[in-house]
Symmetry: C2
Subunit: 465 residues, 2 copies
Amino acid sequence: VTVTTDIADRLATAVEAAHVLVGDAIGEDYTHDEALTVAGRRPAAVVRPGAAAEVAAVLRIANEAGVPVTARGSATGLSGACVPVEGGIVVSFERMNRVLEIDTENHVAVVEPGVTLQQLDEITAQHDLVYPVFPGEYSASIGGNVATNAGGMRAVKYGVTRHQVLGLEAVLASGETIRTGGKFVKATTGYDLTQLIIGSEGTLALVTEATLKLYPRLRHQATVLAPFPSLDPITHAIPRIVDSGIGPLILEYIDMMTMSATTAFVGLDLGIPETIREQALAYLVVMMENRHEDRLEEDVAQLADQLAELGAMDVYVLPAAAAGQLIDAREKSFWVAKANNADDIFDIVVPRAAIPEFMTKVTELASENASWIAGCGHAGDGNVHLSIFQSDPDVRAHVSKEMFRIGMALGGAISGEHGIGEAKKPYYLALEDPVKVDLMRRIKGAFDPNGILNPGTIFDSGDPA
Amino acid sequence: VTVTTDIADRLATAVEAAHVLVGDAIGEDYTHDEALTVAGRRPAAVVRPGAAAEVAAVLRIANEAGVPVTARGSATGLSGACVPVEGGIVVSFERMNRVLEIDTENHVAVVEPGVTLQQLDEITAQHDLVYPVFPGEYSASIGGNVATNAGGMRAVKYGVTRHQVLGLEAVLASGETIRTGGKFVKATTGYDLTQLIIGSEGTLALVTEATLKLYPRLRHQATVLAPFPSLDPITHAIPRIVDSGIGPLILEYIDMMTMSATTAFVGLDLGIPETIREQALAYLVVMMENRHEDRLEEDVAQLADQLAELGAMDVYVLPAAAAGQLIDAREKSFWVAKANNADDIFDIVVPRAAIPEFMTKVTELASENASWIAGCGHAGDGNVHLSIFQSDPDVRAHVSKEMFRIGMALGGAISGEHGIGEAKKPYYLALEDPVKVDLMRRIKGAFDPNGILNPGTIFDSGDPA
């Protein structure tokens, strides 16, 4: 499939000619996302619509001609879900970047898909409100967050993107535009199309507007760091911390190697004594927030006592600057992995109590295959971020597939927040129940009968190259 | 379509013969739910499966024969979504009522669909945990709650059923059984089938198991009642209470007539002076919970000050017994409406800041049509429960449709938590975007190509009678 001159001309009737890029005008940035294992590809055309009606016009043209369409936000994704199809059209949302409304009466924001998390955070801060999803990359766009159901460290308190999106405007492959949901948390009025589109990685519809839930921005934050002799007591501590009712904002574990690489990467000295550093195989990071400083201090003291009882080697309440650096560094763990030449990265999710068993089995698996796997994870929600070091692609594919199989056998799923995209499609197709895959294909057909939206992604057997 | 003797015989191969009821063995209870406007109908057979495999066997038989199937929980629904199809099969989940697991490490419950909210509440209480959705009817089943995405008063803090269901086991019309989600809050691993099935009112699949999120049960609760001169200042107070960060569990408004009828219904005297009762046209009820008694008291004091500033005529902190009675009475508002001979009830949802405009317009509409509409609502989430008194069915249909049109024009939806079922289908089909209805029909076809699951419901044009 290729975009002929004729279609490029037609696209220029849908979107201002200056925003239809072809040939050398298409910058290298448009050819890839951040996935380590999906090579970039050049699309035949990039269009930069300025409004939903232009998106609809582009899709009508593409659908009629059967040309593949890939939606693109900030392209910070890690699974290749916005790598273009050769000869296809990229719809880049960079110009649809307006915050349309901050509604302080209903506590919602209405935004275009190209709005970045940073942009939204700056505007909501002016109203003492917060959009609480921080997947670790502030340049990520809301449209991309919706497509991948982005998560991040704060999910243990606030949930993920899915829990914040109250409504969408979206364009179907046919060019028809629908509105779903609204400024309310409750509705049982037909099937929940909002939730179905979230996390569908651009395969069901192109999102042109999102209505997002906002929360009061709590003023006071504290971060506690606790070294442990191993991962096991950390995992046992998590449910007891949840039971305590302090309602942590962040509950992360970082293994020794990752802690060492991460702090070195950003030049951070946490002041942990050498003797402890030598014995600590894993660290727990707990961040809390409160609107009352005295309640926060009381909760920190309660947590410190509890952590000591639960086997922490020591408990450090980090100064604000060091805490900020540690969280930033943790958010950059993908870049640390990349800088350390990790061959691939994963974000499998398992029931949080199963993390130690999962890690024990995965470490054995890696060792049996002369590979190395290390990482950190959202201990509060079972989402484990791992880097694999194994340059042989066949061995790596074997280890990866077995790792996913171990996670799924423990009741987990292949991706907690990055998505399947193109990078994990072979594993997904090999391990998922074929009854579910067939059902998803029929749902895909209900939205996009000609299969023009992001072919080759998740379960689609089409070859995107 | 009728269930022939042959099919009844085949059903007895799927489910123990003692649990296949036909003819006079089918009690009157199986013929209806609690909807005021949907007449009961007799099914040809009622089956009471004891396990998912039996449900699957029943669906295989029904699908092959093209016989309609209606799933039934406790039948406390208010939209006729579990009223049987004449000649069809009712799958009643009363025997699948086991709590399979209370997992205190992952904070989840795994339950069969026939488990009631009361049953789950008693078991979780033993672990100091809570399943926080209380739609007001403790005899309701989890399966029914999932089918209607049940909400209730605590949604302003905890969200609705959709936000608590982490995974499902469900049987498709074909008899194939799938498992979705798991013991985790994060996943981007294919389309979210869990969320699609929730709220689909038995039209996509029959749920045979649900994995539910549990929370720490907070020990201390307080209830504040504030009379206001009208609804308008209550609505303006809501976002400011949310901004304050006290995180209310319940934020309800009750209009004067409903307060009077409700308290009379349960014989409750709240001790509000006559002079205030005469002037108060609306009441705000705020319930809070905390694990620390001192923090709760501090929050109550802060709220009382804030309410006085926001125009409350007075602020009453209710004694625990009276508070319990008031909340119980509010939960019984449907029965109050029924006892007062309401002709129909609605649970429209609008953006919460739009409640006064909605009520003003609806009151005008009712008055223009010699009808009377009164009610109360979940002020924190925009879900308004109204009773209409108008015995002429044509006038009532006109007023109802216009009321929904007003709510939708304000950005609302027809049902916040009861569902569309059969009762609201004509309004839904008249007012919903036909592009969305067509899309939902295609999704329905992807799950249930022969249309055997709950025909005649939501948007289905099939005649269930």
